[in-house]
């Protein structure tokens, strides 16, 4: 959750910026500006006698580029495994494109122009076409082509990559290509800070895998810092502070220290249940995107996985993974958590998530996404349903549908699930015939018909991020209105009460997997509203557990009752903050998930 910490000291000359928290942790240090500016390409005419030397220079530059890329490729495979490493494949293949390089060599000979100019000009033709493609995949490849072109040009100018940094630093850049992120990680990098990119960008993915804090999507940040400017990045909350005052610096050093200390202490909680002192049992589970997180999920003591975002399987992929590939992957998840339960959410694509289709929509959040896509792409849907079922034979898998907005969609999805079951019966493949099915409540319409949906499912999971956006009509990635995105808006609180009450009345489990579930400020309120299951980022598990284990359900109900009578978000937040400060003075406040 991106919000300004109310108790954070600030001074006039420091600059506070908001970004997207992409990899957790706090980094404090000098900035290192990583320029992705285009190499300067001069056009120069050659004497015929210079041509052979020029061609030789180019051959050497290509050879060096190839060596660099192979090194990166091997490093990526080693650090991240074969699959992730493949993102560098396209560049290597283009380096071996003899048609392209024959043309470039021929042009240098006949036009008598320098190699740098011809390389730029020739590759730019393709780059321009790819960058303007309406196919998302091709536009991504345009970045690869650009990166490769710059690599060759840099090698022509015989410049070395910034490799060995003198001091440890926070890398500040407009954008980081996957190769840059990796290369830089070999140095003493404290954190990554970029102007573009989202949670699913290559930078974010790699930073998490490398355990380096990152904040992405901070607009214009490069123009605000110089080489060495002191910066703080908060990879938990997405805060970025440039030129921090002494006071702010101390605040974050303290926060970093507290986090470390707190995490050490919380480790003791790992094997204890998430139960209130007066005996209310809560399911405290984890949101998971990558298999690499599983170890951490165990360390943090989760009761299971409350949300596995299966669409992360599509990252960097050209096609939907096959049924077999998916089945293996889901089985790995299920087995590693067994006997704990895992909830697999079917592909939630569209909206701000990666697009597996080339359709451009004027309003993707109100467009083709979630279950809507799957009900149109039924082959993909059936492959996934069969794969999930195949992983369910040990009966610890549940299935969940995203973005349901009417009951017909749920029924249709269930009909496909039944069909998938019949396929497996025919093929004599074992699965859990009574696999539990749930829906996400993230569209206000679904919230209003909670009771109807609840009659036809086993569990509900509230997706607060989208629900709040839709309910308040606020696009939280739109800077102009993002402050109106209020998770403690009284309308949100009252709406949540309604969903939880109606769902429980029908006898189903009501959980929450949105960011709000992992915001410590919301825990007591949600507990008091009667939420059965909290699904949170692994990072936040111990903290939320500690709050649950120290708060009587009776007290939480009283808090919820009072909050329901308040009329502004400010009132709600200050009431909750005061309550938390009194009871949990040592919990670092306000980072959310």
């Amino acid at each position: 959750m991106r919000k300004v910490m109310s108790d954070q000291p600030r001074q006039a000359n420091e600059i506070l910026l908001k970004g997207i928290p992409a990899a957790p942790g706090i980094a404090i240090g000098p900035s290192l500006i990583f320029h992705k500016t285009l190499p300067i390409v001069e056009e120069r005419l050659l004497q015929p006698s210079e041509v052979e030397a020029e061609l030789d220079r180019l051959r050497q530059a290509v050879a060096r580029s190839k060596k660099e890329l192979q090194k990166i490729f091997r490093f990526a495979e080693e650090k991240l495994g074969d699959e992730e490493g493949k993102i560098f494949e396209a560049q290597l293949l283009i380096l071996e494109d003899s048609v392209l390089f024959d043309t470039i060599f021929l042009r240098i000979r006949t036009e008598l122009r320098n190699a740098g100019y011809i390389v730029y000009d020739e590759i730019e033709k393709y780059h321009r076409l790819m960058a303007s493609s309406r196919d998302e995949y091709t536009r991504e490849r345009a970045l690869d082509v650009e990166d490769l072109r710059n690599r060759i040009l840099r090698n022509l100018q015989e410049e070395k990559l910034v490799s060995k940094l003198q001091t440890s630093a926070i890398v500040v850049s407009h954008v980081l290509a996957a190769a840059d992120t990796l290369i830089l990680s070999r140095n003493d990098i404290l954190g990554y800070l970029t102007e573009v990119g989202g949670v699913t960008s290559h930078t974010a993915l790699l930073a998490r895998a490398l355990k380096i804090p990152a904040v992405v999507g901070v607009r214009h940040v490069v123009s605000m810092v110089k080489e060495g400017t002191p910066v703080i990045i908060d990879g938990y909350g997405g805060n970025v502070i440039i030129h921090p005052s002494e006071e702010t610096l101390r605040f974050y050093q303290e926060k970093k220290r507290k986090h470390k200390e707190f995490e050490d202490r919380l480790a003791d909680l790992r094997d204890l249940p998430a139960e209130t002192p007066d005996g209310r049992q809560i399911e405290l589970v984890a949101n998971v995107e990558l298999v690499e997180e599983l170890e951490f999920v165990h360390v943090q003591g989760a009761d299971g996985i409350g949300l596995y975002r299966s669409e992360t399987l599509l990252l960097g992929k050209e096609v939907f993974p096959t049924e077999d590939e998916q089945a293996d992957h889901y089985a790995l998840l299920a087995d590693s958590m067994f006997p704990k339960m895992i909830v697999i959410r079917t592909f939630d694509i569209g909206g701000d998530k990666m697009m597996a289709h080339p359709v451009r929509e004027s309003n993707p959040f109100l467009g083709w996404r979630g279950i809507r896509v799957m009900l149109d792409k039924t082959n993909v849907f059936m492959d996934q349903l069969r794969a999930i079922l195949r992983a369910s034979s040990r009966k610890n898998v549940k299935i969940m549908f995203p973005m349901v907005s009417n009951i017909k969609e749920l029924r249709e999805a269930r009909r496909y699930l039944e069909e998938a079951k019949r396929d497996l019966v025919e093929a004599n493949i074992p699965f859990d015939e009574k696999i539990k099915v749930g829906v996400m409540i993230e569209v206000p319409a679904a919230a209003v018909i909670t009771e109807d949906l609840a009659k036809e499912v086993d569990f509900l999971s509230i997706g607060t991020n989208d629900l709040i956006q839709y309910l308040l009509a606020v696009d939280r990635s739109n800077d102009i209105v993002s402050s109106l995105y209020q998770e403690f808006h009284p309308a949100v609180v009252r709406f949540l009460r309604r969903i939880i009450e109606r769902g429980k009345k029908e006898g189903v489990t009501v959980g929450m997997c949105g960011e709000m579930a992992g915001d410590p400020l919301a825990t007591v309120l949600l507990l008091g509203l009667g939420l059965d299951e909290f699904s949170v980022v692994p990072m936040m598990l111990p903290e939320i557990k500690k709050i649950i284990r120290s708060t009587k359900y009776r007290d939480a109900r009283r808090v919820a009752k009072h909050v329901l009578s308040l009329q502004t978000e400010d009132e709600v937040k200050s009431y909750l903050l005061a309550w938390m400060k009194k009871r949990f003075p040592d919990i670092p406040q306000g980072e959310g998930s």
Binding site: E89, A90, L93, I94, E96, D97, S98, V99, L100, I123, Y126, L129, M130, S133, R134, D135, Y137, T138, R141, V145, E318, V319, F320, T322, P358
Partner: protein, 88 residues
């Protein structure tokens, strides 16, 4: 010179992997090979060119071959399209 119209059958379209397969196959023949999609023509032996086509499933294109082994080249390439680039 001979030509043939084909449709992309595989789900990925002419993305990196299928493009690489196509280029490698075409390189085994002496004939020139060009692909024309929506009036835009690229050299079918160039991976960067094929990637530029951004050809997705269902896209139609004209394959053009010219050279001494043009018949064999066309037969092999058309078959690769028919097989959906051996994509699973």
């Amino acid at each position: 010179m001979i030509e043939r119209e084909v449709t992309i059958k595989n789900r990925a379209g002419l993305h990196t992997r299928p493009a690489a397969t196509l280029v490698k196959l075409a390189a085994q023949f002496k004939s020139d090979f060009f692909i024309n999609k929506d009036g835009f023509e690229i050299n079918g032996k160039s991976i960067i060119g094929v990637m530029t086509l951004a050809a997705e499933q269902g896209a139609e294109m004209i394959l053009r071959f010219s050279g001494e082994d043009e018949n064999d080249a066309m037969a092999a390439v058309v078959e690769l399209f028919e097989r959906g680039f051996d994509e699973q």
